[in-house]
Symmetry: C2
Subunit: 252 residues, 2 copies
DNA sequence: CGTGGGGTTGATATAGTTCAAACTCTGTGG
DNA sequence: CCACAGAGTTTGAACTATATCAACCCCACG
C-alpha cells in the first residue's frame, strides 16, 4: 500500500490561525496523526465526528458502483470536513501524506455546544456556507471546460491553497491519478496537458510533484470559467488571450 | 423574453410541510410571487436575504467569462437558497415558471434569531449540510459519466423531486437548454439521448416537457454513478445490466 | 539488479461538440 | 380564422478532444 515518499509535501501548518474555530469548540478536540493511505472514515461509517485538518493533506472521494471514483475535494490545512446530514457518511476520506495531523470534534457534543454557544453555531454555519461555495466553483470547473482549462484552474487553485505567501513554487501532495479523479479526466490527459503547459512556458517541472509556475497569465488565460463579475473586475484586456489555438466561443 | 407557457408545470406545493423551518423563523418571512424570466438575485448583488421556494421552479446558475453558464441547481418547492459566506452573491437565480412563489427571510434578522433560538440554528445548519450532500452527488454526476448516464440520472432525480407520490409522470419545468447547461452537455446531445431512451422504451414523450417513465430499470441501469454502499444495499444482480452496448469498466 | 508503481508518450477509436437544416408548436397580427 | 414568426426541439453530417489501449521510461526500494 504505502508508496515511497516524495519530497515531503511542503504544505503549511495552520494550527489555530486560519480556521477560526471558537476556543469553546477547540477544547473538545482530540489530536490524531495518520499515515499515508489510512482512511479517516469510509462511506457507510457512522458520522459521529467532525474533523479539521491541521497539517498534511487528504482527499474526500465517492466510490462508484463500477469501480471508478470521484475525488470531491482535496483537504488541506485549515479545512473542516466530515459534515453529514445523515447518520452515516456517503463519502470516504483518505490520507495523502505521512504524518498528516487532524483534530477530531465529537459531533453531538459539538452540536450541543452550538445550541448554547452562538459563536460556535455561527462558525459552523459559516464553514458550511464556504463549503457550498467551494463545491459550486468546482462544479463549474467539472462541468464545462476542456482539459487545459481544468488543469490550469487546478494548478492555480492548489497554488493559492498551499502556498504560504505568493510563492510560485508548487508541491502537489497527490499523484496524477488523484488529479485525474479530481478533474474527471484520464491520467494520460493530465500528463499530456502538463506537458503542453510546460511546452508553452507556463510551468517548469522539478520532478513530477514539484513545479514552478512561470507564467500565471497563460494559466489564467485558459480559465474561462471564472465567474463574470470577478472577471469583469479585472478590467482591461481580459478576453481569453489567443494562445495559438484558442477557440473561446463568441461572447453572447 | 417571456416565452409561451407550456402546460403549467405540475410541481407540487410545499407550503409548511417538507421544509421544516421553525415557526419563529417563519414569522420573519415575506411572500413574493414572480414571473418566468425574472431573477431573484444576480451575481454581485448584496446577499442580505435567504429564500425558500414555495411553489413553481427556478434555477441557480453561474455565468462565465466566455458567455457560457453552468446551472448549479434547479430549485423546487421546499428548497432553501441564497446562502452566501460573502457579502455578495456569486451566482444568480432565475424563475422558470410563471407565478412561482417564494418566501424571503431577511438574512441578518435570521442570523440574529439563530443566535437566540437553537432550533433555528440547527435547522439552518441541517439545510446547509443537505445542500452540501446534494452538491457532492451532482459533482459525481457531472464529473464522470457519459450522456446516457447524465440524462438518466437527471430524469430520475427530477422524478423523485417533483412527483407527489411514486408517479411515473414527469413534467419538466425547464427547457432542453437548461437541462444541457445543468448536465454540462450540448442541447443536441440532450435531445439525442432522450430519443435514444425513448427508442429503448425507457420513456414516452407526451410533448417535449411532459413524459412518462415506462421502465425505471433501464434508466437506473445507466447510472453507474450510484455510490457503492447504496448500490450494494440493492443486493441481487445490480451489475449495470447489458443494454446492448454497455461498456462498464472492469470492477477494480 | 530486478521489480513495480507512477509517469509519459504514441496510436487509434469514439462519444460528444459543432455547424446546419428542418420540424413543431404556440402565440400574434392581418 | 389562418398565415406567419420565432423559440424550442429534433435530426443529420463532419470534426475533434479525450478516452482507451499499449508501450516505454524513471526511480525508489528490496
Amino acid at each position: 500500500m504505502a508508496m515511497r515518499m516524495h519530497s515531503a509535501a511542503a504544505v503549511r501548518n495552520v494550527d489555530e490561525s486560519s480556521a477560526s474555530l471558537p476556543e469553546s469548540l477547540e477544547v473538545l478536540a482530540t489530536r490524531t496523526e495518520l499515515a499515508e493511505g489510512q482512511s479517516v472514515y469510509r462511506a457507510g461509517d457512522v458520522a459521529d465526528t467532525w474533523y479539521r485538518l491541521v497539517s498534511g493533506a487528504a482527499f474526500e472521494c465517492i466510490q462508484m458502483a463500477d469501480g471508478r471514483r470521484q475525488i470531491v475535494d482535496f483537504l488541506l490545512p485549515g479545512d473542516l470536513f466530515g459534515f453529514c446530514s445523515h447518520a452515516r457518511h456517503e463519502s470516504s476520506v483518505e490520507i495523502l501524506v505521512d504524518g498528516t495531523v487532524l483534530k477530531e470534534y465529537p459531533r453531538y457534543q459539538a452540536e450541543d455546544l452550538a445550541t448554547i454557544d452562538a459563536d460556535v453555531a455561527r462558525a459552523l454555519r459559516q464553514q458550511a456556507f464556504k463549503a457550498i461555495e467551494r463545491l459550486q466553483s468546482r462544479m463549474v470547473l467539472l462541468g464545462r471546460t476542456n482539459a487545459l482549462e481544468k488543469v490550469s484552474a487546478f494548478l492555480l487553485e492548489m497554488s493559492e491553497r498551499t502556498s504560504v505567501g505568493a510563492s510560485d513554487d508548487l508541491v502537489l501532495p497527490m499523484s496524477r491519478y488523484d488529479v485525474a479523479d479530481y478533474l474527471a479526466i484520464a491520467v494520460e490527459t493530465v500528463s499530456r496537458t502538463l506537458t503542453t503547459l510546460k511546452a508553452r512556458g507556463a510551468i517548469v517541472l522539478a520532478n513530477s510533484r514539484h513545479m514552478r509556475i512561470m507564467d500565471r497569465r497563460v494559466l489564467e488565460g485558459w480559465v474561462a470559467s471564472r465567474k463574470v463579475h470577478l472577471a469583469a473586475a479585472e478590467a482591461g484586456q481580459q478576453r481569453p488571450m489567443d494562445l495559438g489555438f484558442g477557440r473561446a466561443r463568441p461572447i453572447a
